[in-house]
Amino acid sequence: MSDSPLISVRNLAKRLGGFVALEDVSLAAERGTIHAIVGESGAGKSTMARILAGIERADSGAIEIDGHSVAIDSPSAARKHGIAVALQQSALFPDRSVLANLFVNREPLRSGLVSRREMQARSFALLRQLGLAVDVGAPLGELGAAERQLVGIARALLDHPRLLVLDESCEALDRSQGDRLFAVLRELKARGMTMLYLTSRLEEALALADQVSVIRNGRDVLSKPRSDLTATEEAMIGQLGLTLFPLPLRSLSNVAGTLRPQLTVSGLSGGRLAGVGFSARAGEIVGLAGLRGSGASDLLAMLFGQRRARKGKVRFPDGDGLPKTRTEAARRGICLISSHAGNGVMADKSIAFNLSSVVLGARDWGRRWYSPKAAAERAARLVEALRIRSGSDELAGSLSAGGRQKVALGRWLEIGPQVVLLDEPARGIDIGSKQEIYGLVRQMAASGCVVLMHSSEMSELAGLCDRVIAFRDGRLAGEVAGSEMDAATLRKLITGDTAAPAREPATTSQRNAA
């Protein structure tokens, strides 16, 4: 066996449209080790995973395996080099059975026909090890998010790769599933498999990895063996994220303390939500923490009139109850900005047209018609304010994900919203845009809006919100504010762990959110 690392990448760069996903990343993984790559979402992790999987090609840079430069120009080339990648969930086939998903394009044949029995035999032990007790004949779409994620990981493992790349593999898993997965990964490591573990959660990296690298904005900023990481460095990595968040604009939120609650929700049920009550004041940002399926998204959809509530009472700042339709919501100054596909931005219309869309639809006063001149003025103003780096007559589709999200947010500014509902507003976008969106959210709160923000990134909630309400299985699981509001506490609340988290090493507990 040679001394060269199993895989090393040098100066990897990749542009996606106008957006630099990877600028200059170099790292190397030694044989039989787990190398964690930590970075906020949007830092370039998934792009790297896709390059290693052969789905995308790097614009420049080199990949070496066993010291030899290789070109990974197709998924089959990646496979030939012994690389398997567990991508995020979109890489699966919801209509097809679990077994079919596990063996896509690797189906074992018996006398020319696909052998279901052989597939079952090959996957049985692995599925049990991962704790995946599901009907393997059932369509994948019927499974929960955690189970789907495990299917994706199992599929990569079935290739018996030399290098396994895992992209946010714990995202949808609860504690016990995560621990189980880690046990499997450690066992594979002991048997000589090399792993790249891409994650946005530092504590996962610290618990699992032998080597930790940090990437930010498409660059690697630090790479050290786990054992050499000093407590200060750990704290530093942990706080990298905090510089993202602008300082709270305290002026108004202090005053707001004396005002009466403005949005009150009591006993609200519907979707997965059961009997939820809380209130939120103008001028504060209230975080809604919760895993996918915890009901936090459903709550926002109900407040926006997108989903029916079964029962419960809601009183908005304007004194009325739940809006019946989205149009009504918009007309009453209630807005929802989500990261879901499309998020209402029309990709094949100009930025100016998009920025005017809410004003025209929501305002039931003034001029009803689309006036190109008014739209242009409005757009010029907003493009400036939002720092969108394209002309307002370019198509919205030409913007990066971050730019599009800024347009989605900016549309609402024109109607002076009273209640701002945010559903993962900064998911999957680059750091620069994230920072600007956080700034906009702060501004909206400071100008007297009630802001509710749901996110599955606990550090984002801890960094941006004044207080956070945690949801678990459709119910309230607690509320934290002030100094006790940090990512680890929140994660405990939403997953329902009462014991001290075993995956979090003792050294990190001294870290607290500033």
Partner: protein, 328 residues
């Protein structure tokens, strides 16, 4: 895992709806007019059913991969015209004419596939254009008149494709066996072979399929060729059976074939397909056409019923889907 009873699993299958519909149809028509199930009528239904059916089988695979082909109806008319024209002008033998017709059809499929996969034009537009090109060519080379056909009875080609014989009181054409054979082979290909898994993966989530190394484009081009060749073969079979080669024949078949496939439970958006369902869908529509006439409804009202069936089946599908999602 195995706690579902046989009945429950039968009901859960996507083919269950079409099966019930077919049985209801048969019972109703037979109740109103007992002649409906007479040997002569059954033979009648089967003769033409299998010709359209061949196209529908290939279309099932194509639609499972997420594309469809509107040019099959015009190929159905064009191929026999080409074959007879070559034969009548003395250029080739009948067999050679058939071979050339099939090759030309394969090329048409190749062009369809190339436009769709390389130029990324939706198959609706590509095959709509091809429909007009092929139909136009058929009309042009024949001046719009039916081709003179020589009664092909007795030639070995006619015997293999449409030779008829009696099984008891039933008059059976050889094409029935071609259809059954194609249904079995394509059914196995779709559900049991690696190619079938490629097809379903390509239709279900093309990007994920590419990420797993499936050559999605090659799969689609192959299926466009298959569908074109099957349409051409069906046209030739039909022309030999009826001793006619009309450049206008096959008009509107593309939509009827797509309706058969969709009624059978194949998703119009791709990813899910069933050959058994398609066979049921073929029978549902052909039995409907025949039965309506037999029970005294004017034949021209046929389309009303087809439309109603399609709407009803789609409503059922979407209802099941929504109930399904609410349950999870």
């Amino acid at each position: 895992m195995e706690n579902h009873s046989f009945v429950q699993r039968l009901i859960a299958r996507p083919e269950f709806g079409p099966l019930v519909l077919l049985v209801v149809e048969l019972v109703v028509f037979w109740g109103i007019n007992p002649d409906f199930l007479s040997p002569q009528n059954i033979s009648n239904i089967l003769a033409f059913t299998v010709e359209l059916g061949l196209i529908a089988l290939a279309m099932t695979l194509l639609m499972t991969s997420g594309e469809f082909d509107l040019s099959v109806g015009s190929l159905f008319g064009f191929s026999p015209v080409l074959m007879w024209t070559l034969f009548n002008s003395g250029v080739t033998s009948l067999e050679m004419g058939l071979l050339i017709a099939l090759i030309v059809a394969a090329l048409v499929g190749l062009v369809n596939g190339w436009f769709v996969t390389q130029l990324k034009i939706p198959s609706f537009l590509v095959t709509l254009g091809m429909l007009l090109v092929v139909r136009g060519t058929a009309l042009f080379i024949t001046d719009g008149f039916p081709q003179r056909t020589w009664s092909a009875e007795g030639s070995w080609l006619a015997n293999i494709l449409v030779g008829d014989f009696y099984v008891g009181p039933f008059r059976i054409y050889a094409s029935l066996f071609w259809f059954i054979g194609a249904a079995i082979v394509l059914g196995y290909v779709l559900t049991q072979s690696r190619t079938g898994n490629w097809i379903q993966a390509a239709g279900g989530n093309p990007n994920a399929a590419r990420a797993r190394g499936v050559n999605v484009n090659r799969v689609k081009v192959g299926l466009f060729i298959l569908s074109a060749v099957m349409a051409s073969l069906a046209g030739v079979i039909s022309s030999l059976r009826t001793s006619a080669a009309n450049p206008n024949s096959g008009t509107g078949y593309e939509l009827e074939v797509i309706a058969m496939v969709v009624i059978g439970g194949t998703a119009l958006t791709g990813g899910r397909g069933t050959i058994i369902g398609t066979v049921l869908g073929i029978l549902i529509l052909r039995v409907m056409r025949n039965g309506i006439v037999l029970i005294g409804v004017p034949g021209l009202a046929y389309n009303i019923f087809i439309g109603a069936i399609i709407l009803g089946m789609m409503a059922l599908h979407s209802w099941l889907e929504r109930r399904h999602q609410a349950g999870t």
